[in-house]
Amino acid sequence: MGEAIKIQVNGETRDWCDGVTVADLLRDLEIATDRVAVEVNLEILDRARFAEHRLRDGDRVEILSFIGGGALCIGDGGVDAPRMGESRESPRAHGFPRHFLKRGL
């Protein structure tokens, strides 16, 4: 194998062997190729090209998949979003007048 190159995967920079393909990367990370989308330097890579597309030093790779979601989901603040009458900050911060919150709707 050749020299080490630096590739950023999902925001994390790691060393990989020169000549590594997207398919190799997914295999190393133990990620099944079905149901993932891969973006290399902001360009979506067709699944059919995973095996042939060689990554280069400094490439930025994003690997995405489906997670649970309705409209806003875990991690986006959906779960942490305050309920009426139990605000994280001041009630005003969320735009509801105080008397509204006291009555709790």
């Binding site: 133990e30 149901r35 891969v38 649970g68 409209a71 806003l72």
Partner: protein, 257 residues
């Protein structure tokens, strides 16, 4: 009710209850709730795969894409560019051309940015997407979305996750009369009666997530929602009696002493 199918862009749906998959305690609970709800369309979000902890299970191991229509959303997207990017990623992840398009305008209300929504929808439709837009209860915007090629519209009942129920039934009714495509009431449902009401008003389907996932007993609420949507749909088709201020006797006067 079995022959009362919902058809959008040539696709046939058995259930008029659509559900989200967020906020559940576990994938097992998600699976049980969805199964109980009878829904055949489930929404999912597109996010980075966790590359440090590969032990994490995948949602689609629990929600079989052969059994359910997977509807990816663009939740969390505040710009046209992001919404378009996430839609393309969702398609690349390989389920279908369907997308529940959200362009969020504001963090506090999560109300849609309708100008951005129309712009993003136009781009995606040109690229062959089947765009189901999450929109406001604004009939004019709904009409514009249909005009540019959306095969259905998804107006909100109330802010996402608020559980406030249908805040503007009259707008929603006008919206339903203004467009000739299916209307799926999306977001804001709090309990079964809200869902029934949406269907009684003439909605073609209802989409919800928090109302089920956030209930004390999500599985029981999923069942309640299933019946609520059925009841509302049946009542709509049956045709309700008009509201009157005064009584009308239902027992005959004839034959009284």
């Amino acid at each position: 009710m079995t022959d009362d199918r919902l058809i959008i862009a040539g696709r046939e749906f058995k259930s008029r209850l659509w559900v989200g998959t967020g906020k559940y305690k576990s994938f097992a609970e998600t699976q049980k709730a969805i199964e109980t709800s009878g829904a055949d369309v489930v929404t999912v979000a597109v996010r980075r795969v966790n590359i440090t902890d590969r032990s994490k299970e995948n949602l689609l191991d629990y929600i079989d894409p052969k059994k359910y229509t997977i509807l990816p959303n663009t939740a969390g997207c505040y710009t046209v560019e992001d919404a378009v990017r996430y839609s393309r990623l969702a398609r690349a992840a390989g389920v279908s051309d369907l997308v529940k398009l959200e362009v969020i305008g504001d963090e506090k209300t999560l109300f849609p940015d309708t100008a951005g929504l129309i712009e993003a929808a136009r781009i995606l439709i040109k690229e062959g997407f089947i765009v189901l837009p999450y929109t406001n209860d604004d009939p004019i915007v709904a009409k514009k979305l249909v005009d540019i090629g959306c095969p259905a519209v998804m107006p909100l009942a109330a802010p996402i996750g608020s559980g406030l129920g249908i805040r503007n039934p009259y707008n929603l009714k006008i919206l339903m009369e203004s467009v000739n495509v299916p209307v799926i009431v999306d977001a804001g449902v709090g309990t079964a009666s809200d869902a029934a009401l949406a269907m009684e008003y003439g909605a073609d389907a209802v989409l919800m997530n928090t109302a089920i996932a956030g209930a004390r007993d999500p599985i029981a609420m999923a069942e309640a929602m299933k019946y609520a949507v059925w009841a509302g749909r049946l009542a709509y088709k049956a045709g309700r009696i008009p509201k009157k201020l005064y009584a009308t006797a239902s027992s005959p006067i004839e034959g009284m002493l």
